[in-house]
Amino acid sequence: MSFISIAGTALAIAIIMVIIIIFRAKTANYEPEVNRDRTLYVKWGSAVSKINKDERNYSCLSLYDIQQAFYPLTTPEAVTAVYTYGRMLSSVPGTDEEINSEVLYTDDAFWRVFEFGFLAGKPYDAATFKSGLKQAVICESAARKLFGGVKEAIGRRLDLNFVAFTVSGVVRDVSKFAEQSYAEIWLPYTTNSNICSINITGWGEGHTGSFKCFLLARSADDFPKIRSELASSIAKMNANSKEYKLDIMDQPDDFFTQMLHKFSNGGTPPAKVIIRYCVIIFIILLVPAINLSGLTQSRMRKRISELGVRKAFGATKWSLLWQVLSENFLLTLIGGMFGLLFAYVGIWILSAWLLASDLGGEATMNGSMISLWIFFVSLIFCLVLNLLSAGIPAWKVARTTIVNALNERN
């Protein structure tokens, strides 16, 4: 009987913890996105006609927008702009080794907004960025594949889509859950004249393009200040355009909001997602709780005469209630421990599904998934499940009159 209670608890806790651990892995601060909680995100932009509101596009930001309205901001600690290029052919001259690597074009502030683990060398600095020197930061696995080692890569020539770069630094591989900073190779965007060209004639007058912008605040308390500074900065820029203006649609988003803001013309509101998760977790708790309630009640009925004796000797209703709940909590706790264990095993076995990244492929398990916080949360869920599954039976037992209890009448 105890085995069944433990198994039921373990099952529920395992599923809930899988959800929580994955959620945590997607939202916690970890390398290189250590500042998620104090970063604001502007991923999308829309150019709107000043005359006809319906004439608009949905896209990202242009370099013109960023240079005019984002870089001049003073409240944020750092402002960075990135351009996701996609896969580039990377090869080392003189060898026939060729691989395709994901490339992210950035500026030099990128290395301040995100904190990468440098294994060798250093990032490109402001001077390199400004003069458009062709330097590249590559990830560890790319360095090993192309150059056979980390130290060996520094200062070597690397051809990217047949353009010659010099490797300036090697960083630890990035988890695919770090969607805003993930790449295998990072380059200054000033090295590509195509993406840097600014054209403020034509439709949209230079507003919207393919850039994203991240604003690192000194602390999350600065968010309202940054939002208002950005709004006035964009208004100033828009005043200079004749027919079109940039609309950033309720952005900048905080980390959680931007995660759900998956399309330029909208995303899922965070409140909706939170409610959905709460409903799911409630059902996952409720179903085993109903089942376990039946079991707890059966167990209590067996011992009803014992509880009757206790009551006859002066135990109060509350002390009996407490006794049943705490006894049951032991079982729940054992079940919870197994549940947490199952959760980790489950994530490991089903990683292709559970750790699937929006960038394609799967993220690796990382340190943020095993923490005191996770342990604490599972303890809380055990407590809730315990209350749900033993609450009603305990209440019933505690209410039974002495005579009925001693006569085993429930």
Binding site: K134, N161, A164, N192, N194, V287, I290, L295
Partner: protein, 416 residues
Amino acid sequence: MFGHILKLLWNSRRQNIWLVCGLFVISSCLWYALDYLYAIGVNQTRSLGFDWHHVYSLNVGVYSPESSHYQSDSIHTKAAEGDLNLFLERLRHNPSVESACVTQMHKHYVWANASASLTYDTITAWTWIRSVDPDYFRVFRVHGADGSSPEELTKKMNLTDIIIAEKLAKRLFPGQNAVGKMVKNHSNGDSVRISAICEDQKYNEFTGHQSATYMAISTAIGKGLEYTDIPWLGVYIRIKQDADNKEFVRTFRKQMRTQLMIGNLYLEDIRPMSDYRDEHLKDYRNELYTYLAVAVFFLLNVFLAVLGTFWFRTQQRQPELGLRIAIGSSALNIRRLLLGEGMLLLTLSFLPAIVVAWNLGYAEMVSTSPVEFTLRRFVVGLAMTYTLLTLTLFIGIWFPARQAMKIQPAEALHEE
């Protein structure tokens, strides 16, 4: 027997109410999950309309002005079209390549589309507009609606005509033959002739059949194709079955690397279609797995609940069961009695679940696209739920029943 079991259940109703409640909630939730899986299963039986096996997708790169390979217009007089045509020709000459094609605004398993409306007479219908070269039908093995081969479709594709999918043909020409008719294409205002009907295609395995129109892409020199357009084109090759192995990409690359450096073009990336397919289907599959996990979770819960309840019940009812054996009940009788109790409990809790299920379906709270919510789907879903629950119930009761049958009548009566 039935009345007898009912009486037994009524007598221990306080205990049974928990099980009935649990089974009711589980039946409803399990039905929802199984209904979803059934709808997906039904959709899988409808043909995909193209064959992605042994097809590889190529990205054609263009040297940027920063590259030392870059040839400016002054030294490179051959236009982008010329480079691209040579690129395709060299692909077709590779011994392992069966056919090659180029597409514009149409990539299977990638969200890149153009759409427009076609009008015939008074009927206007929405459709995807896909620009492809004639070999598209050979590369993706798209057959004609009449069962004709991809090669025949390829022959029927030319610059002035279009090929449309069967679904679109049925919408524009109900009860008529569409071949040879003229329709107006609203994307450019042209009137075009329909030269053939191809089989219906899904966007991917999880969608329904969609309307599609195929137009010939023009790669003739001077037709306005620019170098900047080329990276956005889809270039696909179908390779011979015996050439398709894990090493193909590596060897193909080594073989073709210098051959495919043509003018300002080079082979940037080559990946099997399965890569794009896996990426594209990821979200659909994740949802599918989630529903599967939900179904398994509920079934395990049923198992534990039934096991627990009946374990306890047989222990508690030992005197009763002993008496039954003493007065001549066989082991089979006892098992039948317990299973009967379980079945009746399940059926009792299943009845309200049917009402919930019907209401969910009626209110279209279940996914109705691409598979409609019909009476048949409703009944099949319920039958699947009931069968699975019954099976789980049997397993859950089996162990306690076996225990109960081991009771020595004397011992049991002694207790009494």
